[in-house]
Symmetry: C2
């Protein structure tokens, strides 16, 4: 992509009304635009990051047997009344509105009721189970206070997977497989090292449930961590009996701020019993389906990456989610011979399938281009200048480490197409 074709631009200053580092940086660099409190536009560069995160999530969900689908936002009250989750007294994040044709509808803030009802069409026998279905879809939550930039908004993408099992054994097996898939996702998007599968209280169906918490100063949550033992618990699990069961003492745990980047719930038969989702077992007896739900917010993951990995110069994207692998800076573009040469290198990179953003601005100074490149945060910066044309070498700087190398064209191509 030629930077002169990209309609967004970087700004000199961070927006005055954003306290969250993630949103401040993402707005300054032109990845997102704030429409109102809790509602953001994902601009072309920002949507590319979301698409890459979503691709990784899809790969991992498909690998454990997930089938992707898409459920609607608009909700008829009756379904939610059957589980006592329609009333504003019980659920305080509903957006509700009126149909012109008459009747109230709500905007879905989750989809347990919807998918449980839908599965009544397709599940009748134990032979239909287990099954796993997911979507990446927009949720609406009427938060009293939108905060933490793109991390707690009033509308947001959610990957929500729901599991349907005949036996507790089937459920436990999938629950573990999904927890492992979640850790693979967090590793692949570059926040795995700081992310803990955290023990939380389990509710009616299990001793413990699990949250995925990423240690970060900007976090809204608090967890208690022992890095050596690779264990984290939340406040609910700080009691001695629980800790003993987990093989850790209160003294060994350190309090840390964190961001909840994922959660997994055993739902038991709460929804299947309320809504009437049953299967016939091998003896022909009707049994309620055992369910689980598993959530990740792609934009929250994006915000976490920015909060965690950026530095004083700007964003630092891991290769797996960067909009472009390389940011090519063309210098001496006022000399048409150099510009043609630089255009040629850009074409050659593209031909080899390297995703490259090309700063082809003629008027911008070198310092401005370098500062923009640091702010935008592509993994590699490549400088092409008069000197490159003379000696056939390119300065390649790794954004994360600052490592600088002088590579020939062939070395650079090999490096970029290797992984």
């Amino acid at each position: 992509m030629r930077q002169t074709h990209l309609f967004t631009k970087t700004k000199k200053e961070a927006p005055a009304d954003e306290v969250a580092k993630n949103a401040a940086l993402l707005i300054k660099s032109g990845y997102v635009f704030k429409n109102m409190a809790g509602a953001y536009t994902f601009l072309p560069l920002g949507l590319k990051v979301i698409d890459k995160i979503n691709s990784i999530i899809r790969e991992e969900m498909d690998a454990i047997g997930g089938q992707e689908m898409h459920m609607p936002t608009l909700q008829d009250p009756s379904l939610w009344q059957s589980t006592d989750r329609w009333s504003d007294d019980n659920v305080d994040v509903w957006f509700k509105t009126e149909l012109k044709a008459g009747g109230e509808v709500g905007l879905a803030w989750t989809h347990e009721e919807v998918i449980t009802n839908l599965m009544r069409q397709y599940v009748s026998s134990y032979k239909d189970l287990p099954l796993f279905a997911y979507q990446i879809q927009t949720k609406f939550r009427n938060e009293m206070r939108a905060k933490s930039g793109i991390m707690r908004t009033r509308e947001f993408w959610m990957k929500d997977l729901y599991s349907f099992c005949a036996t507790q054994e089937q459920h436990d097996e999938f629950y573990e497989a999904c927890a492992e898939a979640y850790m693979r996702i967090f590793n692949r998007i570059g926040i795995g090292k700081m992310t803990y599968r955290t023990f939380a209280s389990g509710g009616a169906f299990t001793k413990f449930s699990h949250e995925f918490q990423t240690l970060a100063e900007a976090g809204e949550d608090v967890v208690y961590v022992n890095e050596a033992k690779n264990i984290a618990v939340n406040e609910e699990v700080l009691e001695e009996a629980d800790l003993t069961e987990l093989g850790v003492t209160r003294e060994e745990l350190t309090e840390r701020k964190s961001i909840e980047v994922g959660n997994i719930f055993s739902l038991g038969t709460k929804f299947s019993e309320a809504i009437g989702l049953t299967y016939k077992d091998a003896e022909g007896i009707d049994m309620p389906v055992i369910m689980g739900s598993y959530g990740i917010g792609p934009a929250r993951a994006m915000g976490t990456i920015v909060d965690l990995l950026s530095d004083e110069k700007g964003i630092v994207w891991p290769e797996s989610v960067a909009p472009y692998k390389a940011h090519m800076i063309g210098l001496n573009g006022d000399d048409s011979e150099i510009r043609d040469y630089t255009d040629g290198i850009y074409s050659a990179l593209q031909k080899r399938g390297v995703e490259v953003l090309y700063d082809d601005r003629v008027e911008a100074r070198a310092g401005e281009k370098f500062a923009d490149s640091d702010l935008l945060g592509m993994p590699y910066r490549v400088v092409v200048s008069r000197r490159s044309k003379e000696n056939g070498k390119f300065e390649v700087v790794t954004r994360a480490t600052g490592e600088t190398r002088e590579l020939t064209e062939e070395e650079m191509f090999a490096d970029f197409t290797d992984s």
Copy 2:
């Protein structure tokens, strides 16, 4: 995909409450599920069709310079008040709701105001223009009556592109490029032959605007067509002066029912003047940006394909949008030797990158499998049976034409990986 792993199933009967052929067939075959009037779930097979339509749309929009982004649903009233489109008296499809934090918000039914306001951040000079931005995003419209199955719903995906130009010449050039891209899209998804770029009244800015209308008995619209002259007009353009300008007479036109599958609008400076989107021209004078908007509904396109191409046995997908290219029917699966052989053919097809749905059910009868296959509508049906193992030949039936061929394994592989 093994059919026993797919969680959806076909139904014996079409749903009683669906008059629209598209929804009746799509529900019966397990592509969509109706949640309430005007709100549908796209099940795994249905979402695959939408994804393929969206990929084609993206390719064509990217090819004419479109940059993809994603704008929010929730809308602050103030922007829409500036163009007089907030009041229910002026716009009768708003869903409006209240923020818990105080204040009314609306659910976006289009995004002209939003993107015009956003572009004020990025457009300042004629050098920034022209630019073209689009999204594929969910719109909400509070229709008095949801109808025509998945074609007129209360929430639906829309590809909406907006163009921003400095001169009328730039605008006209893009408008034409987009109209041609639209015809390429409709050709690629299999409805091009029946789709006309239809003349409609142009409003304040142009003599004519254009709708893309697909001739179909199930259509809600009416157009007047001359197939030989390859021209269609809508009711607004039936006056003699207009027709003369278009080189056609009223007598040469036949009235036909049709589905509006796309529209393109010249917006002039209506939104840029109201919201204050200007650019400095070469002389440094502030000028309002000239805009256009261009919409296609992917689910409406899907419904149109079903309405137009299905037959008495079921759906007939064009290859470009079919969830799978081939539907492999395994017969004699109660014989484990035959089943292993059939599994082998399935693996071999997958290894060659052929998208294949494999009916691996052991208990279902052959007749049931063939009926399901016709209903589901993949372009090619492949039968693998005891006979195939004996003589190395497979019956390949083309769904659209009924053409039946006996192919060897190599012939079949070559045929399926050719295009």
